[in-house]
Symmetry: C2
């Protein structure tokens, strides 16, 4: 089973409006609610792909209850730990006249006993897990080395880990030696800047390769950097691989990172060779971008893309 | 006791952001939640003024539960009827760089047995009520003559009524002969247009006077029209009165209408002479406009304004 961890779960709400006019009042024509947060999205994708999965994390208040209800309605098994604080909502206003406009509420404050209760629950869930996917931001009150703790506990239990996080929590997590780290270009720039103690920016594949090597050296066994339209760059220690989509896929890039993590998590579980895992990750990401609804997959695109992803070993 | 009825209660959420940029994602710095809907706002104001009050209406789902919790936290007694649908939220984005931007969710669908259950509850609440304030829109599923039904039941129970509504439900409600109707200029234009079967627009006090007489003729015992900065025009049948604030009050006009209804409801209960009721209504409305937070009152402004409102009998 693949265990996904979402410490800052969200209720994603999309409001449909005709035209967004700042400074005026809008009657919302449609309201769509979905359980969200990166790990929750990964769990839903894995469930849709037929992988055995369990979603855990922290959820609280009426919003947390709604998140859990929506997961149950989607058939995704969940084992969230309840907290007193109210889980956050994200509101996206989708108008017919432009790009979506998003409003991200801050996460709830997590009390120390709630974090301890989660660790206890997590230890129990590891008994049935093959892989743990640790995804997204930490809400206030969870220690900065929270991911490091969770990675250490997983290793003690013999469970593989994949980390998709940002900033300090990602840096501290990597030092705890996860199996896979999946930064995007911006996150990889941040990590490389922290390591080098100077500001660096990832422009292309060669800079990403250098940064990935540094992140591997920091503690990650494999680094898979997602570079948008340029595809994936993986440094496994033995190999450096570049996987690129056969064409530029247009659509909604929101869910691409989560689809990539889902593919890498099931690749970790199956133990397939790295070129196959990357092919799968590129095809799933592209199918997420091409899907009509953010966070869904377009199955036809997935089959077609999977056959035509190029994977090259870099010298 | 003053009973307020809010059939389309809302959870009013205000998001604080630095700058609103359409097409981008914003981290919300502050989230403020308040129980809302016109009747709920009237109840909270009356409670703050020390009047005995009870808030009733329809509320459902997690949002409805939150509305009731927030009312309880504010010390406002409530007797809402639960419905299966999820009560609506209003999201207002307050940015430092311009006017607030609002998003109004549609109301929940109300099933026929839920409406019947509410009528039963309402009949019971009328036993302890002196005045009923019927405020705001009807959610889908409540019959268009819902306010007419509630006004008829109140009259049978010997309870005075004040109606603050719009369009068809207001028109049908007025035909059921409420004691007071409180339209604003736009609502008065709509009512007069329905009555005359041609489009009319209220420009000034003289047109408002003509429209108010027509609305009285339709069924209202007294019409009090709120005309923004021009103050209030009241047609009581015996008198036509114009009450104006001594100065232009600047601020947030959102809560002015609800403050006016609160003042008129307590005036109905006390039976004070109309000039005093109007003086109170103008001063409370102006204090609501001047308050730092929408829906609150500025007590200093209230005392000062109350002393200086002019009330004139029109010939």
């Amino acid at each position: 089973m693949i265990l996904t961890v979402t410490l800052n779960a969200a209720l994603d709400v999309t409001y449909g409006v005709d035209v967004l006019r700042p400074g005026t009042t809008h009657r919302v024509s449609t309201v769509v609610e979905r359980a969200g947060g990166k790990g929750v999205n990964v769990a839903r994708l894995l469930h849709a792909l037929g992988e055995p999965v369990m979603a855990t994390g922290l959820a609280g208040g009426a919003t947390g209850a709604r998140i859990r209800d929506l997961l149950a309605a989607a058939g995704v098994p969940e084992a969230f730990t309840s907290i007193d604080g109210e889980s956050r909502r994200t509101v996206v206003v989708a108008s017919d006249d432009g790009e979506p406009t998003g409003f991200w509420e801050p996460g709830p404050r997590v009390a120390a006993p709630e974090w301890s209760a989660f660790l206890e629950r997590y230890r129990g869930l590891l008994a049935d897990a093959d892989v743990v996917a640790l995804c997204g931001s930490l809400p206030p009150g969870v220690p900065d080395d929270g991911y490091a703790t969770l990675i250490g506990l997983a290793r003690s239990a013999g469970v593989a880990t994949i980390l998709d996080a940002d900033g300090g929590p990602a840096y501290l997590g990597i030092r705890a030696r996860p199996d896979v780290v999946k930064p995007n270009a911006r996150e990889l720039s941040t990590l490389h800047s922290i390591i080098l103690r100077r500001r660096v920016q990832i422009g292309g594949v060669s800079e990403a390769r250098e940064a990935a090597a540094a992140v591997r050296h920091l503690g990650a066994q494999t680094v898979v950097a997602s570079l948008g339209a340029a595809g994936l760059l993986a440094d496994t220690g033995d190999l450096v691989l570049h996987a690129a989509p056969p064409e530029v896929v247009t659509g909604n890039p929101t869910g691409a990172g989560d689809a990539c993590v889902a593919a890498l998590a099931r690749g970790l579980r199956s133990g397939r060779p790295w070129p196959e895992r990357l092919r799968d990750a590129v095809a799933l990401s592209a199918a997420a971008v091409a899907a009509a609804v953010a966070g869904e997959l377009s199955p036809i695109d997935y089959e077609r893309l999977h056959a035509s992803v190029s994977v090259t070993e870099l010298p």
